[in-house]
């Protein structure tokens, strides 16, 4: 009986830079640096273990063509292992690694590895383990970093009575959280007549259509930051063919470094020790969700409670963060606390302060006026922005968003805290 299994992955972003993690310990930095490559190795192992005959990579193998040779060679070694085992690998380029990019370390691709053209949709037949032709894979690559064309419209199912798979790096369904490269609709994809769409570009696993046809985003193999799209479990799709038809698909996580944002309300947390216990529990719950090399977590503390006083200054927050890191040093799988966002609020009753009619009340009246007067607020911040963006600072500071209303909220809280603390002394 013939056997045919394929694996679909995308958005490897090998040697990707990590954003928003702050400074990490050297041992953690080493793991992070290799994490995207390790995830690729795990994908190769998955293909071999599942005896897959076909691997579809739907774009964004690299984060950019200038990335390290290390990543190219690691990718090449993985392809060679797959080639030795007869696994066919079909690659479509995405917006991060458009067709024609430099593959300086790879002068010859291993047998069985093919790239889809950027000129038009290319089709490759694929055999099962008995050598019988079982599927046709159609695909197209991005020609540049910004492809605005709806590439899905170029796909057409052929007359062969086989399984037809489409490989495309695109923004299907108009996801506003991602750049609209190669935009298309679900109907566009349906109308192409494919049995399975192997999509890339969205980094979280999604099934846009569960059968007839299958339209699936595999998601990335390794998160890159603490943004919503990068957290969660990463992995690849494994599909099997039974009696000439696609019997079903399975999302298989691969071991990788997890990213997580933990929100903790300090309202019911009595002290810092309990907070540490609580965070440990939350982190453990995330790690228990799937295979992980380690977990990089950022904590957002919210709410009002007795702990707010301990978190009132950046120094104290830094001290707490240091303690958290000390507590989890040497854990396997590792747990790295990326940072703490102190979003807690002091236990200040603003209405009561307004009724007092004292200095703090006057300050609240001033901030109330500023909330309603954007121009006045801008004037208040004008001098500060001029200082912040003077000379060499402009290049780096200008990219830091400063929402005036949020800054006003935080400044009001800070001023009130200091004033009330003084008056309480």
């Amino acid at each position: 009986m013939s056997h045919f299994t394929f694996v679909h992955a995308a958005d490897l972003h090998l040697d990707t830079p990590f954003e928003g993690l702050g400074r990490v310990a050297p041992e953690i930095a080493d793991v992070l640096r290799d994490s995207s490559l390790a995830a690729w190795d795990a994908l190769v192992v998955l293909c071999i273990e599942r005896e897959a005959r076909l691997l579809l990579l739907a774009g964004d193998i690299y984060d950019g063509e200038e990335r390290g040779l290390r990543a190219q060679l690691r990718f090449l070694r993985g392809l060679e292992r797959l080639s030795e085992r007869g696994v066919r690998v079909l690659i479509a380029h995405g917006n991060h690694d458009p067709h024609g990019g430099r593959w300086s370390a790879i002068r010859q691709w291993p047998a069985g590895v093919s790239m889809f053209s950027q000129e038009g949709v290319e089709s490759f037949p694929v055999n099962d383990d008995t050598g019988r032709e079982v599927a046709i894979v159609h695909g197209i690559s991005h020609a540049s970093r910004t492809v605005a064309e709806n590439l899905a419209l170029r796909f057409r199912r052929g007359p062969e009575p086989l399984l037809h798979l489409g490989v495309l790096h695109c923004n299907a369904g108009g996801d506003l959280n991602h750049p609209a490269y190669a935009p298309c609709t679900i109907d566009d994809l349906r109308s192409a007549g494919m049995d399975y769409w192997a999509l890339g570009h969205i980094h979280q696993h999604r099934v846009l259509s569960a059968g007839d046809p299958w339209i699936v985003y595999a998601g990335g193999l390794q998160g890159r930051s603490l943004k919503p799209g990068e957290v969660g479990i990463k992995g690849a799709i494994v599909g099997s063919l039974a009696n000439g038809a696609l019997s079903g698909i399975e999302f298989v996580p691969v071991p990788h470094v997890r990213f997580a944002e933990l929100d903790v309300d300090i309202g019911d947390v009595a002290d810092a020790a309990r907070l540490l216990d609580r965070l440990e529990e939350e982190a453990q719950a995330v790690q228990d969700e799937g295979p992980a090399v380690g977990l990089v977590a950022r904590v957002t503390l919210v709410g009002r409670g007795p702990l707010h006083g301990d978190l009132a200054s950046p120094d104290r927050v830094a001290e707490l963060l240091k303690t958290m890191r000390e507590e989890t040093r040497g854990r396997r799988p590792f747990l790295w606390w990326s940072g703490i966002i102190a979003g807690t609020r002091p236990d200040l009753d603003r209405d009561a302060i307004r009724r007092r009619g004292d200095f703090s009340a006057e300050l609240l009246h001033l901030t109330d006026r500023l909330r309603d007067d954007e121009k006045a607020l801008s004037r208040f911040a004008q001098e500060e922005e001029a200082a912040l963006q003077a000379g060499a600072l402009r290049k780096f500071v200008a990219r830091v968003p400063g929402h005036p209303s949020q800054v006003l909220e935080d400044a009001e809280t800070l001023a009130l805290e200091r004033l009330e603390a003084r008056s309480g002394q």
Binding site: E66, D358, T367, F380, A387, V400, A411, A415, R422
Partner: protein
């Protein structure tokens, strides 16, 4: 916080000075000069904030009268009274005891003080006259902040500190040249550059890969060449190194061939020969010694004799001897035991006689006198005694009970009759008497019941009720007098109701007098200001130039954005200029660089025009030819040397061509003949030995050996004589050999000369050059090589220079383009600027800076116009307000009956309205006083009614209490009497029990056969006699058994003696017992002698047997050694020791040579190895062509060195390229640096966000602060103004800040400003005191009210103002505690006049000598107008009642509760304490009193 007292242990003149129970309100501390008032002030400050130390200038106040330096304060906080104790020094130990007696600390003190620090307390709350008059104490920042920014940030520090903190944090984040943000930006820029560099490196990967492959190929080629050269050199080396070994091996083989053949020889021959000879000698000696010892033993054995009858009985005899002592002891004890037996028989007879007739030995033995029987008798004895005793006690108790019942019945009846008889209002003494009698009855009942009296009756309710009745009656009487007095006082006050009704509106109008006065001045001032602003506007408009008027200025849009745009244009133009200048500078620099390189290139090209030297490749070829030539010339020289040597050999051979010596010819055949004879003789000897003819065989063998030796000797001689004896044939062979070698030499020389000529021609030398010519040529080539290298360097430099020049030209072109761009950009900016000027309607040609200044001027002018307009608006408002007040004031004056002020001047109007206000205030005060008096009278009436009701209630309560007490005692008696009646029956049962016990005893005696007349004690004595009889019978029976046992033992021993004596063949003993013992002794001696003889014989027999065995073994050993020696000789093929040693020497020589040859062979094999190649080398080695090998080695070595160097260089190059390629492959720096870069950006984001928040927070607080200060009139000044106005009787109605807000001025009635310096000293002090009252009040509202302590601050005031100030202080004291120290009687009198209730403390007075002559604290209440109708016992009773009903109370609380004078209460309490009716506790934190535990309490 309130000060409740102090305890000065030692502080200056003060010593052991305690004051307690300080009240709220005003307290006057009065004392003459030097009494210690200033010291006390310093003490109060010191305890709270630390005493001065030697570093400061303040007096230290050491304890002049002893005691520890320091003391304690009792202060009352929100939770109760704290004790604050401090001892010497600023940081002296501070001890705080909280109200709950726990230990406190600085925090508690801070809390009590509301956060006030030392300076604030000293400036505002505790000060002397001198400090009052000093502005310095009020000018500290903290105090000033309180005056002018009161309440800005609560009771703590000002908002300015918050701003400072925020600015500090913002500065740390971003300073002018430093700060975290700048650090992060620098780091981010550096990392960004590093990322770019790393990416560029990665792009060179393909080229690196190709270079590495090319280098790998070159390495392989050189490796092959090197291998070949090394193999050749190694072969030559091997041959040269192996030749000495091979030569030695060949020589050893030749010596070995000359030695006789010995196929085999015994192993370890020397050791085995020595061992065999030694064994033969040792074994012979041992045999002889053993034989002699055996003969000696046999002689001794024959001398020993023994008796065979004794051994069987020796054991029995030994046992009998051991029992002899026991036998003697048994004989002695038989006599003793018989005597004792007779004594015991006599004792038994004596006991039977004492028992009397009817008693014999069996009855005696059978009677039971055991311990249980005796215990039974004792039980009877105790039972009989107890029954008798209880019967007697019961009879006595019954008689006493009857007497007590009768007495209690009578007492209760009498009390009941008294209660029925006394109704109405009996006195307290009557209640106490009844209570005492009831107490006595209760005690009687309790005695009857054997219980505690209080369980029966508690007299306290009765006594309490009685005391309450007395107190209620006294209180009622006192209140009645007070109520009457209050009513009379209220009726005496007269009031004008019209003026009183006007008081509030007139006061309100008067309160605004100063405001209106100020308003008028403000109107005037603002008019001036408005005019000034108007002039400024006109001046500014003129300054703008023609065509500009106010409307134009007002209509011009001139905001900050436009000024900023102008500033930006200025910056852009400056940037453009700078950029253009920089571009021009760069262009000049590049032009100079290009020109310099062009010159260098021209110079090089001129140098390169000279003829070109040979190439390095050609020179290298010549060099190789030269190296070969040098090697071949050396080889030729070597060949020439060999040829000359052969020529010498050939000449020697020609000289030796002469006849040989005939005497030596026989040496050629003689060795062979001798050897043949030796062999024949040896065969004969062998045959003879085989046929067992040993003698002849040995002789023949000896002859054969001698012949063989002769053969060897001849051969040796022949070998020595062979050269000489070689003869003609040998010479001819040598000649031929030499000729052949010479031919070979010539051939080799000819072979070399051809290549030599070829190489020489290549080098331009003759065909067969000399070595000197070759060396010269090599030197020439070295010069040519240097010239070639210089030429190559010049060519390379020219090429590089050409490239550089091209690069500089490109750079110049680029710089020129940049310069043009900059110029164009600058022109564009100028165009934009001109367009901007046109759009703003500004004159063309104006520079941005000028435009910015112009705009700022316009903006400033606009601000002035706005300000002028605002002043005008304020003026209108002010005038309207003034008119409204004026109308209202005139109406009020008319209503008050003063219409003369109508239409008068404003100043007069103000005076009138103030006058009316004063009159209204007087009437209002009277009205309030009358109303207050009426209220007071009504209050007293109400209290009187309450007291009436309380008195009636107390009477009823007292009677009810005593009736209840009587009833409770009667009830108790009824129950007690019933209980005792039931007890009577129980007592009568004791008689019956006594009789029954006597009867049962008689029955027991009868059952034991005893006389019934005997008491239990007599029966116990009878038991003792019986026990003595029992003991005598037992001891006699025991003696009888002992005697029988002894007699049987003696008979048995004698029988055993008789048996052994007969066995030994002796006669049995007769007569005395000692004869038996002697016989046993003799027999024992004979047995021991026989046993000793037998042991000696046995030992000798064993020694003889051992000697026989040893003799046999020695004989066998001797024979074996002899056989071993013979076998050794046989194995060696010899017959004697001498022959053996000779043959052994020959064997050893041969063995050494063979070993040496084998060793050399193995060394050669180890060196050359095995296999075909080794065989080839071995073959070559055997030829011995050492010179040829040497030449080969030198040539190959040079070649190997050269190739190895090149190969290693190539490998290093290849490795470098590999490393470079591997680094590129493994380079993680892009990812690493990216990670760091992102981390820094993250940190930067956080820092920027924080900076924005902090900066905005600081701005918010600052803006609020400005607004707050601008809009709110400080309350401190308002309070101070009011107080100061009252003190100065309206002369100075207001205190205001100076313009710079740094000081204060006062306004007089006319609104004129007076600085502080313009005031008299007294007025200044009044001002400062008013300020302090305002500050203290503000602090109290914001934090906690602290006590005000002042030292003689009123002395510089005139009488009127002092009285006003005293009123202010009293008013202030309603919600603050005020301690006023003074030495002046008039101050004391004035205060008591104003308020008779003022507490006055007279300070102790010390005599001149400083001895303890304290009068003690004497607190007097000179205004003793307080109602105190209670006195003496009545007051004591009230105090006790209050304490009983409410528990512990302080003196103040007691006085308040009883509404009595505290001093009276204190005196009463003192008396009660002396009688221990009252206890006092908590002296340290304020004394509290409670009821004591004394009689009657």
């Amino acid at each position: 916080m309130r000060i409740r007292g102090w305890q000065v242990e030692g502080f200056g003149v003060l010593c052991d000075y305690d004051v307690t129970d300080l009240p709220d309100g005003l307290v006057l501390v009065h004392g003459p000069n030097e009494a210690g008032k200033s010291t006390l002030l310093a003490f109060l400050r010191g305890v709270l904030f630390g005493f001065p130390d030697r570093r400061g200038s303040e007096p230290l106040y050491p304890p002049l009268r002893g005691g520890r330096h320091g003391g304690a304060l009792m202060v009352e906080g929100p939770n109760g009274i704290y004790r604050v104790e401090r001892l010497g020094g600023r940081r002296g130990p501070l001890a705080i005891v909280r109200p709950d007696d726990t230990e406190g600390g600085e925090n508690d003190l801070q809390q009590l003080l509301g956060g006030a620090d030392r300076q604030l307390f000293r400036s505002v709350f505790a000060f002397s006259l001198q400090e009052l008059n000093s502005m310095e104490t009020l000018s500290s920042d903290q105090v000033r902040a309180r005056i002018f920014s009161a309440g800005i940030a609560g009771a703590g520090r000002s908002a300015r500190e918050v701003i400072d903190d925020l600015h500090e944090e913002a500065g740390l984040l971003l300073g002018a040249r430093s700060g975290r943000i700048r650090e992060l930006v620098r780091e981010a820029q550096s990392l960004s550059d590093q990322v770019g560099a790393a990416v560029r490196r990665a792009s060179e990967y393909t080229e690196a890969l190709r270079r590495e492959e090319d280098a790998g190929v070159e390495v392989g080629r050189l490796r092959d060449e090197l291998t070949r050269a090394e193999t050749s050199a190694r072969r030559a080396n091997t041959l040269i190194d192996s030749w000495p070994t091979e030569s030695e091996r060949q020589a050893s083989i030749r010596v070995l061939g000359a030695l006789p053949e010995i196929d085999s020889f015994p192993a370890n021959p020397e050791e085995r020969l020595t061992e065999a000879l030694g064994g033969v000698r040792t074994a012979g000696g041992s045999f002889d010694e053993t034989d002699q010892e055996l003969q000696r033993l046999l002689d001794h054995r024959r001398d020993i004799d023994v008796d065979d009858r004794l051994p069987p009985i020796s054991t029995a005899v030994g046992g009998l001897v051991a029992q002899c002592a026991v036998h003697r002891e048994h004989l002695a004890r038989i006599g003793d035991v018989s005597s004792e037996l007779r004594q015991h028989d006599d004792g038994i007879g004596q006991v039977l006689r004492e028992l009397g007739p009817g008693w014999d030995e069996p009855r005696l033995a059978s009677f039971d006198t055991s311990l249980p029987a005796a215990e039974e008798v004792r039980g009877w004895q105790q039972r009989l005694e107890r029954a008798t005793r209880e019967a007697e006690s019961a009879a006595s108790a019954l008689a006493l009970f009857d007497r007590q019942v009768a007495g209690i019945d009578e007492a209760l009846a009498r009390i009941g009759a008294e209660l029925d008889r006394r109704e109405g209002s009996p006195a307290e003494d009557w209640f106490r008497a009844v209570s005492a009698r009831l107490t006595a009855v209760a005690e009687a009942i309790a005695t009857l019941e054997a219980r505690a009296p209080e369980l029966v009756f508690d007299a306290r309710p009765v006594e309490t009720a009685a005391a309450a009745l007395t107190a209620a009656r006294q209180g009622w009487a006192r209140l009645r007098a007070i109520a009457d007095d209050a009513g009379a006082r209220a009726r005496a006050i007269m009031v004008s109701p019209e003026l009183a009704a006007l008081q509030e509106p007139v006061t309100e109008a008067a309160r605004h007098v100063e405001v209106e006065r100020q308003r008028l001045r403000d109107i005037e001032s603002q008019e001036a200001t408005r005019r000034e602003r108007q002039e400024a506007v006109e001046r500014g408009t003129r300054d703008l130039g023609a065509g500009w008027d106010e409307a134009h200025v007002g209509g011009m849009a001139c905001d900050f954005a436009q000024i900023r745009q102008a500033r930006e244009f200025a910056a852009r133009l400056a940037d453009d200029r700078e950029r253009l200048t920089g571009a021009q500078r760069e262009l000049d620099h590049v032009g100079k660089g290009r020109s310099a390189r062009e010159k260098d290139l021209q110079r090089l090209q001129q140098e390169l025009a000279s003829p070109e030297p040979a190439s390095l490749e050609a020179l290298e070829r010549q060099n190789r030819s030269l190296r070969r030539l040098r090697t071949r010339l050396a080889e030729l020289a070597e060949i020439e040397g060999a040829r000359r040597a052969e020529e010498r050999v050939k000449a020697d051979a020609a000289r030796e061509d002469a006849p040989t010596e005939p005497d030596a010819r026989w040496l050629g055949w003689a060795p062979g003949a001798a050897g043949a004879i030796a062999i024949v003789v040896a065969l004969l000897a062998t045959w003879r030995l085989l046929v067992q003819d040993a003698t002849r065989g040995a002789s023949l063998a000896f002859v054969a050996a001698l012949t063989a030796l002769l053969a060897f000797a001849l051969r040796f001689a022949a070998s020595r004589a062979r050269p000489a004896a070689g003869g003609v044939l040998g010479q001819q062979r040598r000649k031929q050999e030499v000729g052949r070698r010479l031919a070979d030499i010539e051939k080799r020389a000819a072979d070399i000369r051809g290549p030599v000529a070829e190489d020489a021609r290549t080098l331009g030398l003759p065909d067969l050059p000399t070595l000197e010519q070759v060396e010269d040529r090599q030197e020439e080539m070295s010069g040519e090589r240097d010239a070639r290298r210089r030429r190559d360097d010049q060519v390379a430099a020219a090429s590089l220079l050409t490239q550089e020049l091209e690069s500089w030209r490109e750079s110049e072109l680029r710089r020129r383009t940049e310069h043009d761009d900059a110029a164009e950009q600058a022109a564009e900016t100028v165009r934009q600027w001109e367009a901007w000027l046109a759009a703003k309607d500004l004159p063309a040609g104006m520079t941005p800076d000028a435009a910015r200044d112009f705009l700022q001027q316009v903006r400033s002018l606009q601000a002035r116009i706005e300000e002028r307009n605002a002043i005008g608006e304020r003026l209108r408002t002010q005038r309207t307000a003034w008119q409204a007040w004026r109308t209202n004031a005139e109406a009020l004056l008319a209503a008050g009956g003063d219409s003369t002020a109508s239409a008068s001047e404003a100043a007069t109007l103000f005076e009138r309205i103030l006058d009316v206000q004063r009159r209204c205030a007087e009437q209002a005060t009277r009205a309030r006083e009358r109303k207050s008096a009426q209220h007071e009278a009504e209050d007293w009436d109400e209290k009187l009614a309450r007291a009436q009701r309380a008195r009636d209630t107390a009477e009823g309560d007292a009677m009810s209490a005593v009736r209840d007490a009587h009833e409770r005692v009667a009830d108790r008696w009824r129950s007690a009497r019933a209980a005792r009646d039931s007890e009577r029956g129980r007592l009568e049962t004791f008689d019956r029990e006594s009789e029954r016990a006597a009867r049962e005893w008689d029955a027991w005696q009868a059952s034991h056969g005893l006389d019934r007349r005997m008491s239990p004690e007599g029966v116990l004595d009878f038991f003792d006699l019986l026990r003595r009889g029992h003991d005598a019978i037992g001891r006699r029976n025991q003696m009888k058994g002992t005697l029988d046992t002894l007699r049987a033992g003696v008979a048995a021993w004698e029988q055993r003696v008789e048996d052994v004596v007969s066995t030994a063949g002796l006669r049995a003993p007769e007569g005395a017992p000692d004869a038996w013992i002697d016989a046993v002794g003799e027999l024992d001696r004979r047995c021991q002698a026989d046993a000793a003889a037998r042991r000696e014989a046995g030992r000798l027999d064993e020694a003889i047997a051992d000697g026989d065995c040893a003799l046999g073994r020695a004989r066998d050993q001797r024979e074996r050694c002899e056989e071993t020696l013979a076998a050794l000789f046989l194995e060696a093929g010899v017959s004697s020791e001498a022959e053996f040693r000779e043959r052994l020497a020959q064997y050893r020589s041969r063995e050494d040579l063979e070993r040496k040859v084998a060793e050399l062979e193995s060394r050669i094999v180890a060196f050359l190895g095995r296999g075909d190649e080794a065989a080839d080398v071995r073959s070559e080695l055997s030829t011995g062509r050492i010179s040829e090998w040497t030449a080969q080695r030198s040539e190959r070595s040079a070649e190997v060195l050269d190739l190895r160097t090149r190969h290693e260089d190539a490998i290093r190059g290849h490795q470098d390229l590999s490393n470079e390629r591997r680094q590129l492959e493994e380079a993680a720096d892009v990812a690493d640096i990216e990670l760091q870069y992102q981390a820094v950006l993250e940190e930067l984001d956080a820092a920027v966000r924080r900076r924005r928040v902090v900066s905005l927070a600081a701005t918010l607080v600052g803006e609020t602060l400005r607004e707050f200060e601008r809009t709110r009139q400080p309350r401190v000044l308002a309070n101070a103004s009011e107080a100061f106005a009252r003190v100065t009787d309206g002369r100075y109605p207001k205190v205001v800040q100076t313009e710079d807000a740094e000081g204060i001025v006062v306004l007089d009635r006319l609104g004129a400003r007076r600085t502080v310096a313009e005031l008299s000293r007294g007025t200044q002090e009044q001002l400062y005191l008013s300020m302090r009252l305002g500050l203290a009040r503000e602090f109290g509202e914001r934090a906690v009210p602290l006590p005000l302590v002042m030292d003689d601050v009123l002395v510089n005031f005139d009488e009127s103002r002092a009285r006003h100030m005293a009123r202010e202080l009293m008013a202030f004291a309603t919600d603050h505690q005020v301690l006023l120290f003074t030495c002046h009687s008039f101050v004391r009198s004035m205060l008591l006049d104003l308020d008779p209730d003022v507490r006055v403390i007279d300070m102790p007075v010390y005599d001149v000598a400083g001895q303890d002559s304290r009068l003690g604290e004497s607190e007097t209440d000179t205004g003793a107008e307080r109602p105190s109708s209670l006195a003496g016992p009545a007051l004591e009773a009230s105090v006790l009642q209050a304490l009983a009903s409410s528990g512990p109370l302080s003196l103040t609380e007691l006085a308040g509760r009883l509404e009595c004078d505290p001093e009276q209460v204190r005196r009463v309490l003192s008396g009660l304490r002396d009688r221990r009716q009252v206890n006092m506790s908590g002296q340290k934190r304020g004394a509290r009193y409670a009821l004591g535990d004394v009689d009657g309490a």
